[in-house]
Amino acid sequence: MERLSRWLALPPLAYLCALFGLPLLLMVLASFQWPGEFGGLEPALDRSEDGYRLNLTLESYHRLGEDGLYLGLLLKSFLYALVTALLCLLLGYPLAQLIARSPSRWRGWLLLLVVLPFWSNFLIRIYAWMILLSPEGLLLGVLNALLAWFGLGPVQLLYTPAAVILCMVYVHLPFMVLPLYVNLERQDPALLEAARDLGASRWQCFWRVTWPLSLPGVYAGTALVFIPAFGMFAIPDLVGGTEGIMIGNVIRTQFLEARDWPFGSALAIVMTLVILVLAWLAAWLARGKADYG
């Protein structure tokens, strides 16, 4: 049986190696190469009279380290992703809790509502937000009318960092709600009764029982939101304007417009390393906590 399962693991493993591992290695290599004259890459091996010679450079990493613009953007993207993840947690936790505590015949429908946005295309949903956030849009119209009533000036949302965060929270919320729901739904309600019986108020019940038991779900949801948010480029492209630009936009520009593949690769590699460190940290924090109950 064990031998069979090992054989069965081969195709997906080969798939991952060929279509994920290999391109990643090519990216690492590209980040050390020289850019080609008209885009693309100079060959990594130079052919001269004495044979082949390695033609690699740390130039891209030097540039990245010296130009504060890129490190600043990396930090800014990190903060955007962090704020997005925290807002998703703040909004998603009560929602997941509500669904987990509702009668079981309702839960399926409520979960369906959570994943319903996935049924339409991601870009179309962002375009919809552009309409809502535009100065003539319904949402902003009502908001500005309200503000005017209090004697405050009209605000703009579209093409601001706030619009980027708003849309990223909207897009990623289900990725927070689902792992939290799975965790909260599994928690034994008898534990809460025991806690109250032993003198805990409802607030203490939450902080001493529900919350610590839900930490694996919190870590999973935060990782699932943070990682894609960190590399996001479509949302800042559409609603971020010049202020709301993120590191993902720069990487895309390096490949498609500046045609500096090595520099784009170097940026992508640094971003990947940051995420790997964070993922490892999350796994370390969640260690051993998954097998409660």
Binding site: L191, A194, R196, D197, L198, G199, A200, Q204, L213
Partner: protein
């Protein structure tokens, strides 16, 4: 002192607890006994404060508990599933009620150590519940519920999930703990043996009602009705009708059998219907001596039970009786079909109204 006055509880249309009135003294070991679904767990939840009575009042030392939430009642519970916090160690579990009560850290540490010693788990303080056996979890649950010295400890079938040997051992420990702490225990079980062995008094429940409350020996010797007689120990029940009174005894008529006398109790009228209750161990397979009652029948079967044997006897009218005789081995076993005479002291029989 805990007092229940006419307490009822309704789940939708179902009356789970029906007009229960009861007083439990301080330091008493009181057991609620009944089959599953009789309302005993609901009654426990009402006392703990997880449910509010639809009618009636619950008073603790004269103070009405209505509207007092579970966390403010000096009443702690040992749950059937134990409900230990899986993310806390044994010591942290036991410290939980103490921390909720905001005791100083030094006191908490000391009390946890005491509690661990009281349930003999000193070496396991740093273990997580997942790494404990069933019996160990049960002890942690007990130590945790007793840590903050509640006025009343509620125990909801705490031993049901354990095997027989462990159960007996823990029963003895429960008695020891209860007697040494002097805390009122209210224990829920469907196991009549457990109820009789542990309790000062037992309340038998059936269909949401408290049918009889008595000391174990009284309950066994003088069940008030057919349900209690049948539920506590083994009992023969023969349909009978009061046909008269002679010398202060009741004479019972059973169709197809000679009249049988039982002691007269209560205000029974001639013509009333009920059952003659006879414990199997009170019947002998011998002719009656002076003042004894007698019937005759045929041996139907024999069960060897170790210390005793059980004979099933068919009476002349087709009714069957169990007879328990001491000395299971070494005696001649009576073969099926052997005619026998059954006798019992008049005081052993009881007439129970329907």
């Amino acid at each position: 002192m805990l007092e229940l006055r006419g307490v009822s509880h309704r789940y939708g249309n179902v009356l789970a607890v029906d007009q229960v009135s009861l007083t439990v003294a301080s330091g008493e070991f009181f057991t609620l006994l009944g089959p599953s679904g009789c309302g005993k767990t609901t009654l426990l939840r009402l006392i703990a404060g997880f449910e509010q009575p639809s009618e009636g009042r619950i008073l603790l030392d004269g103070k009405d508990l209505a509207g007092v939430p579970p966390e403010r009642r000096p009443v702690h519970t040992v749950f059937q599933s134990y409900a230990l916090f899986p993310h806390l160690t044994v010591a942290e579990n036991i410290a939980f009620p103490l921390r909720m009560a905001r005791l100083p850290a030094a006191r908490i540490k000391e009390r946890v150590r005491e509690q661990l010693a009281a349930v003999r788990l000193e070496g396991l303080a740093e273990r997580y519940p997942a790494a404990l056996s069933g019996g160990q979890r049960q002890r942690v649950a007990l130590a945790r519920a007793l840590a903050n010295r509640p006025r009343i400890l509620l125990l909801d079938e705490p031993l049901a999930a354990l095997d027989l040997k462990l159960r007996e051992q823990l029963q003895l420990e429960l008695i020891r703990l209860q007697r040494s702490l002097g805390i009122t225990f209210i224990y829920v079980t469907h196991d009549q043996g457990e109820a009789l062995a542990l309790s000062h008094r037992v309340g038998v429940m059936c269909g949401g009602r408290l049918v009889q409350v008595d000391r174990p020996a009284e309950l066994y010797a003088r069940p008030r009705n057919r349900f209690v007689a049948n539920f506590i120990g083994r009992c023969n029940l023969l349909e009978a009708r009061v046909s008269g009174r002679v010398n202060g005894h009741l004479v019972l008529g059973i169709p197809g059998l000679p009249p049988v006398s039982v002691p007269a109790e209560g205000n029974l009228e001639v013509g009333e219907l009920g059952v003659l209750a006879l414990r199997p161990e009170h019947i002998r397979l011998q002719p009656a001596r002076a003042g004894e009652q007698e019937l005759s029948g045929l041996i139907q079967g024999h069960l060897f039970l170790g210390a005793t044997s059980l004979y099933q006897v068919e009476l002349v009218n087709g009714m069957r009786l169990d007879v328990q005789v001491a000395g299971g081995h070494g005696e001649v076993v009576l073969e099926p079909g052997t005619p026998v005479r059954l006798s019992w002291p008049l005081q052993a029989g009881r007439f129970l109204r329907e």
